[in-house]
Symmetry: C2
Subunit: 84 residues, 2 copies
Amino acid sequence: MDLIQSIGYLAGFIIAVALTPQVIQAWKTKSTKDISLPWTIILLLGLLLYFIYGLGIKEMPIIVMNTIETLLVISLIIAKLIYK
Amino acid sequence: MDLIQSIGYLAGFIIAVALTPQVIQAWKTKSTKDISLPWTIILLLGLLLYFIYGLGIKEMPIIVMNTIETLLVISLIIAKLIYK
């Protein structure tokens, strides 16, 4: 794995880390009133398209890290739908 | 520009669109108390690394759309520092 690939993984990891507290908070407090569902769905759509793009240009850092970020956002949407 | 590049631009555009209401709201209400500064700085770091990665793999959709997203987050940090 070369330096550029490592930077790609690190970038995706940091963005996943930035999302995590929000997801943990939603499940812990069982409260998601301040989270906008349309916003979360727009974000999910963007991440899914990024995933397709990553597959298209065959860049593993985008594919792997986007899968993790997509799962985090899906988990946020599920929390939002359960605890509205 | 091929289909995959277009999907990459669209993905970045959608994520920028997801960020925009937050930035507009911060400048309009002059209130940023609910925005976490450490969160914003982590996001900025992730975006900057993604930018370097985009340069490294020479993918214009990542470079262009990440520049826009980075500017949005910097504008959010400036609002946060002015209207604390």
